[in-house]
């Protein structure tokens, strides 16, 4: 009936005198409808094949949803923030504490999680102007750890040693498997929404201005860019987006612990999702997020306890083997695309 034919460069599908052709050529793969459809089909397929995959997919989506704003932040501030998980912690703890204390539903805690994260980011943002290079790296790296210490010191509020429990779950439809499926779709919506917003920003004039700041701050200042404004806005804006991911984590697991999100391991995962995907190409962040989450899942299933050592080693080897990232293999060098690669500054 349906006739598939693979010619040199195209797949031809024939059905009752109708003919469809699909040219195998990477540049035709840049089709948002295609990829979003695949994303939407995946959880439904996994639901019947292996429900465990849905869980991996949710974490992949969230890694991507943190890595993308992180890439935007890196671009807009011209500095690499080594502590994006700080904002995950702020958003998550806000949602968790509010939900436990007042019994608020996820929808009620979401605006507060975003507002508190934005406010924290505003307080923290002068660092973007004052510190640069290694000092910025160190200070931003320290902040999640300081926050972690705070959760342990004020353990009666934050429950730093055991973690917070009893947060209202994101969804309660009665059936756990259907719950998972719907949550997977919510995570996809968040991820695709972030992707769409950030892509719009980056392709607009503001993306170009950010790229200029990323390349040479002083020169950008000299040609009329109000660099402090742009840096602070992009910092706070991306931080708010990262906070949403924290909110999701808190309600998804119904528990939130600094041990999981404010430590180096989680930071490493975010960072590698960003770098392995393709050096801050935002589409690369999605690829990277999926790669990191699925690699971790495979390693946990096959290697058991030793995976904690093997996982970072594999990722670090990949960083050296693929300096341009997974996305870079396909992208090669395209001069017309001005979205820059990042440099870790002196």
């Amino acid at each position: 009936m349906v006739d598939f034919e693979l010619k040199r460069d195209r797949i031809t599908i024939r059905l009752k005198g109708k003919k469809w052709e699909w040219i195998i050529e990477p540049r035709y793969w840049r089709n948002s409808i295609l990829w979003v459809t695949l994303l939407l089909i995946f959880p439904a397929a996994a639901y019947f094949i292996s429900p465990g995959l849905i869980n991996t997919m949710i974490s992949a989506n969230l890694l991507a949803a943190i890595a993308m704003p992180m890439a935007l932040m890196t671009l807009g501030t011209g500095r690499v923030n080594f502590g994006p998980n700080f904002f995950v912690g702020v958003g998550g703890y806000t949602a968790a504490l509010l939900s436990i204390a007042y019994g608020w539903s996820p929808l009620a805690t979401l605006p507060f999680a975003i507002i508190v994260t934005l406010f924290t980011a505003i307080l923290y943002s002068p660092l973007v102007i004052v510190a640069r290079g290694l000092y910025y790296v160190l200070l931003s790296l320290l902040l999640p750890f300081v926050f972690f210490e705070v959760t342990i010191i004020y353990t009666d509020i934050f429950k730093g040693d055991t973690g917070l429990f009893g947060i209202k779950p994101l969804l309660d439809l009665g059936n756990a498997r259907i719950n998972f499926l719907v949550i997977a779709y919510i995570s996809i919506v968040i991820m695709v929404l972030f992707l769409w917003i950030i892509n719009k920003v980056v392709k607009s004039r503001y993306g170009l201005i950010m790229a200029a700041i990323n390349d040479d701050e002083e020169v950008a200042h000299g040609i009329g860019v109000n660099i402090n404004k742009v840096k602070i806005i992009s910092f706070v804006f991306s931080a708010g987006m990262i906070g949403v991911a924290g909110w999701f984590y808190a309600h998804y697991f119904s528990s939130f612990a600094g041990q999981t999100y404010l430590t180096f391991t989680f930071m490493l995962k975010i960072f590698l999702a960003m770098m392995i995907g393709g050096r801050t190409t935002i589409f690369g962040c999605v690829v990277g997020g999926y790669f990191v989450a699925f690699l971790e899942m495979i390693l946990i299933r096959t290697m058991g306890p030793i995976q904690a050592v093997v996982f970072p080693v594999i990722l670090i080897i990949l960083l050296f083997a693929l300096p341009e990232g997974l996305f870079g293999i396909y992208r090669k060098r395209r001069y017309r695309e001005y979205f820059p690669t990042i440099h870790v500054r002196r």
Binding site: L208, D216, H221, G222, I223, G224, Y338, P340
Partner: protein, 248 residues
């Protein structure tokens, strides 16, 4: 000719070193002012202070009657000040077109300018400096001469009133240098800008400049028409050296 830029008693020190000492001068609209002095005389410091990267310790800078002493570089760019750098500083990861488009977007405020308008503007400036065919090449892959021209295009795209040129000739071969000089002359004519030109090659300034200011140790040695300045005893002593004409 009205006064465009007025510098009053500018002083700048780095620790114990006095880089600029009580310097005053004016730049009038439409003229080309040469700025000369031996190495370490404070020429680049003056440009850095005027473009806002450094704050003067004392003194005042006025542009069109507006006090811009405490303005930040981007505000000065909006007022119509632009500069090029001694060592080209392009945006290495952006294409030539996008680099210029950034300054067309951010330079002097243009009402209702869309991103596409800025791209068209940028294309025009790139064509003006002769880089149209290189518009889609990353700036890091351009040659030195092309980088210089890109700098010039980027400075022009902010639609400046006053352009600081910091040693455009350094590192260019004679053919490229004469191209650059012609371009600057054309830019002055077409865009109606005023030029403040730091240069070591005296022959260029002798031809192009209407007025030359010579400084040494941050103090003004002499000011006047090129002929007056090069015949000034102090300038010859400090900078040009006797018999400079045989080498110029």
């Amino acid at each position: 000719m009205s006064e465009l830029l007025k510098v009053n008693n500018m002083t700048k020190t780095f620790g114990g070193i006095v880089a600029v000492n009580n310097l005053s001068f004016e730049i009038h609209e439409g003229e080309t002012v040469g700025f000369i002095g031996p190495n370490g005389a404070g020429k680049s410091t003056v440009v850095n202070v005027l473009s806002g990267y450094l704050n003067a310790d004392s003194g005042q800078v006025e542009m069109n009657g507006v006090n811009i002493t405490n303005m930040k570089p981007y505000q000065r760019a909006h007022m119509g000040l632009a500069r090029t750098y001694q060592i080209p500083r392009p945006f290495p990861e952006l294409t030539a077109l996008m680099g210029v488009a950034t300054s067309a977007l951010c330079g002097k405020k243009r009402i209702n300018q869309s991103f596409e308008d800025a791209l068209v503007n940028a294309t025009h400036y790139l064509e003006f400096v002769g880089l149209f065919s290189k518009r889609n090449i990353l700036a890091r892959d351009l040659t030195f001469y092309e980088l210089r021209m890109l700098e010039l295009a980027r400075a022009l795209a902010t639609t400046p009133k006053l352009l600081f040129i910091d040693e455009v000739m350094a590192g260019l071969n004679p053919g490229e240098a004469s191209n650059a000089i012609r371009l600057i002359a054309r830019a002055k004519e077409q865009f109606g800008i005023t030029i403040f030109w730091i240069e070591h090659v005296m022959a260029v300034l002798m031809e192009a400049a209407d007025r030359i200011i010579a400084i040494n140790h941050g103090e003004k040695l002499s000011e006047g028409t090129p002929d007056e300045v090069v015949n000034n005893e102090q300038v010859i002593e400090a900078y040009l050296g006797r018999g400079w004409k045989t080498y110029a």
